[in-house]
């Protein structure tokens, strides 16, 4: 009886490990090409900002020649919508802009003129309506 109980527990644990691994790999596939999250501090008089609060750049590898890209914020302290675009390593624009209206939602931008196998960088601009200093934490996928 106790051996059967132990075997069933081992099976459950094995199944749980497999499910966790499956979820982990599925998540890797879904977010392949997506950058990590990074915070940007935006002052009301800033133009396009591509340095993160930590002082480095947020970058991701473009894996296809798609003309779309996505961006998602998970922290945002401003009411008005900052604009996002992707740039190359010389800070030259490589996409159209998209407004980030809220946290949690994946916003799709268009006019992505980058090509695959190049790294592209995040660039954010505060809305003209922003007053003072605000923070936004986001990640993007140049696709």
């Amino acid at each position: 009886m106790s051996i059967m109980f132990r075997q069933s527990t081992i099976k459950k644990k094995t199944a749980a490990v497999f499910i966790l691994l499956a979820v982990f790999f599925a998540a890797q596939i879904v977010y392949a090409g997506c950058s990590d999250y990074a915070s940007f501090t935006l002052h009301s008089d800033d133009n396009w900002v591509w340095k993160t609060t930590a002082g480095n750049h947020l970058r991701a590898l473009k894996e296809t020649n798609s003309s779309k890209y996505t961006v998602q914020a998970n922290v945002m302290t401003m009411w008005c919508d900052p604009s996002f675009r992707i740039v190359n390593s010389n800070n030259q624009s490589r996409s159209g802009t998209v407004s980030i209206k809220e946290t949690g939602t994946v916003f799709q931008g268009s006019d992505n003129i980058g090509i695959r196998n190049y790294y592209y960088y995040a660039s954010v601009k505060p809305s003209s309506w922003q007053v003072g200093t605000d923070k936004i934490k986001l990640r993007f996928n140049p696709k």
Binding site: T77, Q92, S93, S99, T103, S110, S128, V131
Partner: protein
Amino acid sequence: MIEQCRRYLLKGYTWAAIAVLAGTGFISTYFSYNEKMMLMEQMDSGADDLNREVLRDIISEYDNGLTYLLRFLTNGDLYYFYVTAAVIFAGLFMSSEMLREKDNNYGNFCVARQGYGNLLRNSCGGMILCISIVVMISTVLIFTGDMIFAGYRHCIFSFGRYQISFGQGILIALGSVIFLMIFLALMMIISVSVSMFIKNLILARLFPVLAFILIPVVMGSTLANVFPATGQFFCRFIPLEYLGTVTDLLYYSSENQKISVICAGAAISMLTVIAVSAAYLNKKRFSRDYI
């Protein structure tokens, strides 16, 4: 009602407001044209990380006046200025008119002739009609200017998540303008009704911009900073935000589109209830106490 509307339309400041509103659209066109120039410069540059096929398609989309209008109506900042300018105009020159007429006794003649209920209905109706015409004329001016500037192409172009045709683009623009007109109409009823209770002409003139733009913006901004998790939810009820619902439909996924439409619907319903209650209270009080 039509007579009142004609009275407002014939005033110089109304045409000044139309010029300012249309000017905001033309500034947006200028910015969009600069973007096109920047893209053309990139095309001519020797950069090796450029998808020139996509870039060529994007540049060709700028040869359509409708692209410029949609960029204006859906692209945040300048549209916010447009809405704010319309609200300021409504407050300074229209919604406080009933209070001014009451103060200088001209209102007494009107009430004696037609009764307060009729005066309130005609004044509100005239103001709503006037602000709607102002918005319509300015949008048509912007669209005409864009079409003359960029030309007409009956093509499908990419906007937000979708590929839209010329007809769909016109419908989106129309939807955006009608939604703005509904908001302005409700704002006008509330402002006219409340201004009679305020009794201070300067405050009554500033009421629309304070109540519908500045206070919601300051509150939304403060809430978003103090409670980052729930602040964004409250921000959906800032007029400048929910007036962009048409944009949300273009950029959001279907689930978020629903939330956005529900929030905008709730906000407009709330404004309708406030407008009806304010008008009712105003009529009840001043039918008795006006003269």
